[in-house]
Amino acid sequence: MMSMITLERRPAPSRLWSLGAPLLALALAVALSGVLFAALGHPPLRALYVYFVEPLTSWWSLEELAVKATPLLLIGAGLALAYRANVWNIGAEGQLIMGAIAGSAVPILWPDWNNPLAMAAMLALGALGGAAWAAIPAFLKNRFNTNEILTSLMLVYVAGLFLDWLVRGPWRDPMGFNFPKSVAFEGWHVLPTLSGRVHLGFVLALLAIFGLWLMLSHMRFGFAVRVQGVSPRAARFSGFSASAITMRVMLISGALAGLAGIGEVAGTIGHLQPAISPGYGFAAIIVAVLGRLSPWGVLAAAFLLALTYLGGESAQLALNMPAKVSQALQGMLLFLILGADVLVNYRITWRSGRDEKREEAE
């Protein structure tokens, strides 16, 4: 007798499971990480507390959570929009870098222009730099039908090497003993902070989430993006231009990534250097998908991911847990959340061998 599990497509996405799936995944992740901690010889409950709760118990680490979530929110919001339109921008990391470079032109090339207007120019240039970089794969896709997944990804490495060249060459701090970093940003070239290290970028990030919601639910363009994503044919019949949508979602997601870049450089790092992002552009892909491409989902996912970074650090310090463990945990969490999402669209059914035979006979 054979029995098997099958997935049956639901006629419509389950309302219950669209709320329940992430909770189930979280519960599973907590249970499994408890097992992992126990296997490593740590009391599981204490480890779980250190990892998931402790970072939420002090004002300082809440601030740091917001700092860490800022670039993820900005980029995640942009990517969610692009992915809704079936435009797969994988190169946000490169757009982040180009935004950081473009915005940094102000303090590096015109250090004496130091007033609120200069700061506004930095932010505007940051957004422009990211948008311009994202326009390249959009143009190539529209004109030559190239695959934007490949072109946007490859441009990440070009941007990285360009930054490397700049800070080791023309933009190097002349007083910096030849070390690869630019002059330090000062005065209005540094984004104002709200509390601790939380800077203006965080406000912009929340605005981006709000803007995404507004666009998707109340604006014609957001509607066009959604139609384009679900059915390109229907979009065409409704008079929406696929290439115009592609270009616009790429420009918007690129601009937001660029803002994240200048935010990191002018908000927390304070100068340009070869490594400005530990892969926020890629982590934000996870944020967008985890958040089911919805504004509030992205909001929650960005904070969740930020929490795993901070929790990993607490665990290293409090329990001497290697950094690799927190990476494994992160992976496990994401895997479970995406896995549980299957339940939204599918139903799990048990079928015994007898049922199958009967079906065959019929």
Partner: protein, 356 residues
């Protein structure tokens, strides 16, 4: 929110004072590493230094670390986390942490910070580094003797003064025994990339190098040398297990003596901000056993090591010409530390162009 924050801060401060007032409390020493610790390389050697502190002063000290801390916005949080959790001596072990160290040090004036390879100091921030070029001069001399083709392959990371100085020192050492010695350099633009480093090693061998040295962190070049049956020098750690027949010696980063001394200084209340740049004499640079070489080369290497340690020999003693033939150090003069620290030109005999 502001008031809550202030109250919390006051409570934390109060707790801090009470804590330190308690007798017999151990000093907490914290470390941040740029890489995972692993079993060889830059961060591993710093962690060896941490373990040495525990071994030497374990009754008075506890240590902790954060590994894989990126050199961006995260470094500041990691440092602050250590300071907040009561660490009174913090070692930041990568150049890119420099500005974060200065920022956090301002907020925690009673915490002592030690920053490796940087140049910004403050009342509670010291800097330290090691004169690795001393070891590179020795391996240059060995290469000059051992290489049959008179050509070494050099796998370099980034064209910063530290790396350029190493290449020059290696070359000066090699030229001291073989004036026609040649060198080929491949820049991999990474501190750690086993794939690229292995490719670079293969390219260099194909171009005629029969001896390899590296200023990158992985053991891949050593493994390639072992496979191809040529010789190589280990970097940062003793890499003999990756090249039992290939490794001639290795220039080892040895932070233990410095770390133990600075911890003792904090315990004794004599810690002061300063800049330390120690080499063989201070024990901060160590040579792995000289192996896989004839007895007379080994003897030469040991004598050179001793001469540098005792101060009789300085690798950058004039006359030194740059690759355009300009005299950079006069006959008999020794290059100043300031010049060494900003070095951005090649010595005569290197035909490659320095990437700018």
């Amino acid at each position: 929110m502001r008031t809550t924050l202030k109250v919390t801060l006051a409570a934390v401060a109060l707790a801090g004072t009470l804590g330190s007032a308690q007798a017999g409390e151990k000093l907490k020493v914290g470390f941040i590493y740029v890489g995972p610790i692993g079993d060889h390389g830059w961060s591993y050697q710093h962690d060896q230094g941490r373990l040495a502190i525990e071994k030497a002063l374990g009754e008075k000290v506890t240590t902790s670390y954060l590994e894989k801390v990126p050199e961006g916005a995260d470094a500041e949080r990691a440092l602050e986390r250590l300071a907040r959790s009561g660490h009174k001596l913090i070692f930041a072990t990568s150049f890119g942490y420099m500005d974060s160290v200065i920022k956090v040090a301002k907020r925690y004036p009673d915490v002592k910070f030690e920053h490796a390879t940087g140049y910004k100091r403050a009342k509670n921030v010291s800097t330290y580094s090691a004169r690795f070029y001393e070891g590179r001069y020795i391996i240059g001399k060995i290469a000059g003797k051992i290489s049959k083709k008179g050509m070494a392959g050099y796998i370099a990371s980034f064209p910063i003064p530290e790396v350029v100085r190493g290449i020059n020192s290696f070359m000066l050492g090699a030229q001291s025994v073989n004036p026609d010695f040649k060198i080929k350099i491949v820049w991999v633009n990474s501190w750690y990339d086993p794939g690229k480093e292995a490719d670079a090693a293969k390219v260099l061998i194909a171009q005629g190098a029969d001896i390899l040295t590296q200023h990158t962190d992985s053991a891949a070049p050593m493994q390639v040398a072992e496979e191809k049956g040529i010789k190589a020098f280990g970097q940062a750690s003793d890499m003999i297990k990756f090249g039992p027949h290939a490794q001639l010696t290795a220039v080892i980063d040895n932070w233990a003596p410095y770390y133990i001394q600075r911890t003792k200084d904090v315990l004794a209340g004599t810690w002061k901000s300063k800049d330390t740049w120690g080499g063989l004499a201070a024990g901060m640079v160590k040579m792995a056993p000289y192996t896989n070489m004839p007895e007379e080369v080994k003897k030469m290497a040991q004598e050179t090591e001793e001469a540098i340690r005792s101060g009789k020999l300085h690798p950058f003693t004039g006359p030194i010409y740059d690759q355009d033939g300009k005299l950079r150090v006069k006959e008999g003069a020794v290059m100043s530390d300031k010049e060494l620290l900003g070095m951005n030109w090649y010595v005569r005999g290197i035909t490659d162009k320095l990437p700018k």
